[in-house]
């Protein structure tokens, strides 16, 4: 059963050189309060996994701007000027991963798989050096799992068992990142009593959640 903790306690779990995942798509679905809590710590040299780096002053971009990150596995950095500048000057190491394949690689880690065979990027730089498979006349490449030590995710509502419900399109990378790390910490707008969320409406089952932080606490 998950523990309810403060944002500060959540941020203090991080160590230098940790691998982390942060959910969200252009801020929607990003645990922004937890980002502020991490920025307030001394932690450094993080390896970050995420769909994008959002904006310079919003979302997970706050970690980049605060120079907390040394390397990235990400699909898009086009909305964040700091990320682009750091990358061009060689201060940030980036592996670009196609967005859907980023999700599949995280899911593979969370679902106990050794990787997936993907048709995405066959014939492009993404395929370089990767094992291949022919299936039904089509070529696929082996994509290995992406895992981290801590996932920081965002939901609208959690019950005390960690069952999660999201707001509209903020769901994006949250359910899959909830599976991909040893520890999952969710920031929520509200915590309700166990049983208050209709089981039919639960999107992420509580088994994937270790800690719950109420936004602002």
């Amino acid at each position: 059963m998950p523990q309810i903790i403060t944002g500060k306690q959540a941020a203090m779990m991080l160590r230098d050189n940790d691998r982390i995942m942060v959910s969200g798509f252009l801020v929607s679905g990003c645990p922004e309060y937890l980002m502020e809590c991490i920025v307030a710590t001394d932690v450094k040299n993080l390896h970050l996994v995420g769909i994008s780096t959002d904006y310079d002053d919003r979302g997970v971009g706050k970690l980049i701007t605060a120079e907390k990150v040394k390397s990235l596995q990400v699909s898009h950095i086009g909305t964040n000027k700091t990320t682009q500048a750091l990358y061009k000057s060689g201060k940030l190491d980036i592996e670009f991963v196609p967005q859907g394949i980023l999700m599949e690689r995280i899911r593979a880690a969370g679902a106990g798989l050794g990787g997936i065979f993907s048709p995405v990027g066959v014939g492009t730089d993404v395929a370089e050096g990767k094992e291949t498979l022919e299936e039904n006349g089509r070529k696929f490449i082996l994509e290995r799992p992406i895992r981290a030590r801590v996932s920081f995710i965002k939901a609208k509502t959690a019950d005390k068992l960690g069952n999660l419900v999201y707001s509209k399109m903020s769901r994006n990378s949250n359910p899959v990142m909830a599976m991909g790390s040893e520890i999952t910490i969710v920031e929520v707008d509200e915590i309700v009593e166990t049983g208050e969320i209709d089981p039919e409406k639960v999107v992420t089952p509580g088994i994937f959640v270790d800690y719950i932080v109420r936004k602002g606490e």
């Binding site: 798509f25 252009l26 679905g29 061009k88 196609p98 730089d125 990378s173």
Partner: protein, 219 residues
């Protein structure tokens, strides 16, 4: 022709390829305009890879919701019957061949049907985003682009020299000069934009074009 008119013409031509009930994903930039040219007696369901099927137009000012955005971060609405889903579901739809058409902008395309749109080494590195998944899985993959760059050089090449987004994935290319189908035999010139001749298009195109007996017109 003014830039906006050109863009409208390209988008209108692409919209004419859609059928009632189709599911379609529009890339950011120029392709977004396709949604404005769907005939009123037709319903096309727009998918956005960040998690919606049934994306509607921009809301009225003051009604924006930070959790209802398109892939470029701009505010959208949800039409009746829309659904929300996570990124894993979203890209399963895309890669699994369930989306009828995707429309993407392009830096370069070539006569093998390859497309480059994610980076210019040393200059522009926005990243791959969802583009590589989209071109690998959508049933129709359409490039919406200007025919030539700002120096007047063809963006439709014999072979792309920028890093590829997809190798042999395009089904169609629509520009301000031409509508071109990508076939196993090569690029077939289907329509020429009003104001241009077939000769103009051939002259402005680096790639080899197959010219059928009849070439249509679009505007």
């Amino acid at each position: 022709m003014e830039k906006q008119n050109k863009r409208d013409m390209i988008c209108r031509r692409i919209a004419s390829e859609l059928k009632d009930g189709d599911y379609c994903n529009l890339g950011i930039g120029l392709p977004t305009g396709v949604a404005d040219h769907i005939p009123s007696d037709m319903r096309v369901y727009f998918q956005s890879e960040n998690g919606i099927l049934g994306a509607g137009p921009r809301p009225e000012s003051g009604m924006e919701d930070p959790d209802l955005i398109n892939a470029g971060g701009g505010p959208i609405t949800a039409i009746p019957g829309a659904s929300y889903f996570d990124s894993f579901w979203s890209f399963s739809m895309i890669r699994g061949g369930h989306v009828d058409m995707t429309v993407l902008g392009a830096l370069q395309v070539d006569q093998e049907g390859s497309i480059a749109n994610w980076m210019i080494p040393g200059k522009l590195v926005p990243g791959i985003g969802g583009a590589m998944d989209l071109v690998s899985g959508a049933r129709q993959v359409v490039a919406a682009m200007e025919h030539t760059d700002k120096y007047g050089k063809s963006k439709i090449l014999k072979k792309c020299n920028l890093p590829l987004t997809g190798h042999r994935v395009l089904t169609m290319i629509v520009t301000d000069m031409a509508a071109i189908k990508v076939t196993d035999e090569g690029l077939v010139l289907v329509d020429v934009a009003e104001g241009f001749t077939v000769e103009d298009v051939i002259k402005a195109t680096d790639a080899d074009l197959i010219i059928p007996d009849t070439v249509g017109l679009f505007n």
